[in-house]
C-alpha cells in the first residue's frame, strides 16, 4: 500500500539521486516548499519532474506541469497519490 510517508520517502530519494540533495525527513517536513531548495535553478525542476516520473512510473501530463504543485510538498504528495491510485484502478 502506498502511504503518504512512503511517497514522501520516494520524493526524497528522487531529490537525493537526481539533484544530490540529501534532506533528512524532519527537515523535509519543515521545508514544505521545494522551490526553497531548488533556488533559481529551473533546469533542476525539469530534472526533478523526470526523476519523479521514473520513480513513480507515471507521466505527468502537460496541464499538471505546474510549479504550484511541484514546489509544495503536500500538494505534490496528494497529486502523486491520486496518480498512483488512478494507475492501480
Amino acid at each position: 500500500m502506498t502511504t503518504e510517508t512512503t511517497i514522501r520517502d520516494r520524493i526524497r530519494k528522487v531529490l537525493a539521486h537526481k539533484l544530490e540533495l540529501h534532506i533528512e525527513n524532519a527537515a523535509f517536513i519543515e521545508i514544505g516548499r521545494l522551490d526553497e531548495i531548488f533556488g533559481m535553478d529551473s533546469i533542476a525542476v525539469i530534472e526533478f519532474v523526470i526523476g519523479l516520473e521514473q520513480e513513480f512510473g507515471i507521466t505527468i501530463p502537460s496541464e499538471n506541469l505546474d510549479i504550484e504543485i511541484l514546489k509544495d510538498v503536500k500538494k505534490l504528495e496528494a497529486y502523486l497519490r491520486r496518480e498512483l491510485n488512478d494507475k492501480v484502478i
Partner: protein
C-alpha cells in the same frame, strides 16, 4: 575632499542614473516609438535608415565604432583591410538599427507582406528534427533577423517559445536602465515576441519542458548570459562566455538541438536551419556540456564570419 576625487565621484553618480545610452534608449522608446505607431511602416523604415546614418557617424558613435572595428579586426585577423573593416562597422550599426526599427513595426506588418519578404533554407532539417517527436531546441545567437523570423515562423504554423532575460545582462546597465528603461523595453518586446518565458521566473523550466513534450520549438539565444552554467569557449580569435543550460535540457528531454540563423530585416530576411547537432554522450555533465557547447559555438562562429554585420553582439 580632493577636487579630482569629488569630480570623479559626481561623474560616477550621475552616470549611474543618467548615461548617454539612457538618452538614446529613451529617445527610441518614446518619441520614435510614438511616431512608429502612427506613420506608415515604409516611412518608419526610411526614418530608421536616416537615424542609422546619423548614429553611424564617427562623431556620434565614435566609441561604438572603435570597439566594433577592434572586434571585426580580431575576428578576421589580416583577411580584411582597414577600409573594409570601417565599412563593416558602419553596416553593423545600420543592421542593428534596422532590427530595433523592426521591433516597432512588426506588430503592424501584415502576414501576407511578411510571407513575401522571407525565405527559409534547410526546412528539411527542421522537418527531420520534428519527426523525432521529442521537441526541438533552436539555438542561435543575437542576429538581426531573429524576431522577424520568429513572427514569420509563427505565422507559418511553427510557434516558437523564446527564452528571454527580464533584466539587462550587460554589466554597464545603470540604475535607470535596470529599474525603468528595461521595463519599458520589455513591454515593447512582449508584444513583438508574443510567446516567451523569462529566465528569472521560477517555473520557466517547466514551460520549456511542456513545449518540448508537445513536440514544439524552443528558442535559446546562447550568446546571452542567462544560464547557471556558463562556459568560456574560443570564439573569433579570442574567448567568450556562452550559456550551456540548454544542453542540460536537451540531455534530460532528448530534444533535438538545431542551430538556426536569422539575418536581415522585415523587408528581406533569411532563416537557415542547420542539421541537427549530434550530441556526444558523456556520463560526466561538465564534459558533456563543454564538448557539445564547443561544437555549437563553432557553427555559430561560422555564421558570424559569413554575416558579421548581422550579429548584434559584435
Amino acid at each position: 575632499m580632493d577636487i579630482h576625487k569629488f569630480v570623479k565621484y559626481v561623474h560616477m553618480t550621475c552616470n549611474n542614473f543618467f548615461s548617454r545610452h539612457n538618452v538614446l534608449t529613451f529617445f527610441y522608446l518614446f518619441p520614435v516609438r510614438a511616431a512608429a505607431t502612427i506613420l506608415p511602416t515604409r516611412t518608419v523604415r526610411a526614418l530608421g535608415r536616416l537615424l542609422s546614418h546619423i548614429y553611424a557617424l564617427p562623431l556620434v558613435a565614435g566609441e561604438r565604432r572603435k570597439s566594433l572595428e577592434e572586434s571585426l579586426s580580431r575576428a578576421f585577423r589580416d583577411k580584411k583591410t582597414a577600409d573594409e573593416i570601417k565599412e563593416l562597422s558602419g553596416c553593423c550599426i545600420h543592421n542593428a538599427i534596422s532590427s530595433y526599427i523592426d521591433d516597432l513595426i512588426l506588430p503592424r506588418i501584415d502576414n501576407r507582406s511578411l510571407m513575401t519578404s522571407g525565405k527559409i533554407e534547410g526546412m528539411e532539417n527542421l522537418m527531420t528534427a520534428l519527426s523525432g517527436q521529442r521537441g526541438v531546441i533552436l539555438v542561435s545567437g543575437h542576429f538581426s533577423g531573429n524576431r522577424v523570423a520568429k513572427r514569420f515562423l509563427r505565422d507559418k504554423g511553427y510557434p516558437i517559445l523564446s527564452v528571454r532575460n527580464r533584466y539587462p545582462s550587460h554589466l554597464k546597465a545603470n540604475h535607470t536602465e535596470m529599474n525603468y528603461l528595461s521595463m519599458k523595453w520589455h513591454r515593447l518586446l512582449d508584444v513583438v515576441v508574443a510567446d516567451h518565458v523569462f529566465t528569472e521566473d521560477n517555473g520557466f523550466g517547466l514551460e520549456i519542458l511542456r513545449r518540448l513534450r508537445e513536440n514544439g520549438l524552443v528558442s535559446i539565444l546562447f550568446d546571452a548570459l542567462n544560464s547557471k552554467h556558463i562556459i568560456e569557449c574560443p570564439f573569433l580569435g579570442s574567448t567568450r562566455l556562452f550559456s550551456a543550460d540548454f544542453l542540460r535540457v536537451a540531455r534530460l528531454t532528448h530534444a533535438s538541438v538545431l542551430p538556426m540563423l536569422c539575418i536581415g530585416n522585415s523587408s528581406v530576411f533569411t532563416i537557415k536551419f542547420e542539421k541537427e547537432v549530434e550530441l556526444d554522450t558523456h556520463e560526466d555533465m561538465a564534459t558533456f556540456l563543454s564538448i557539445n557547447l564547443r561544437k555549437i559555438v563553432k557553427t555559430m562562429e561560422s555564421h558570424v564570419l559569413a554575416y558579421p554585420t548581422h550579429w548584434l553582439f559584435m
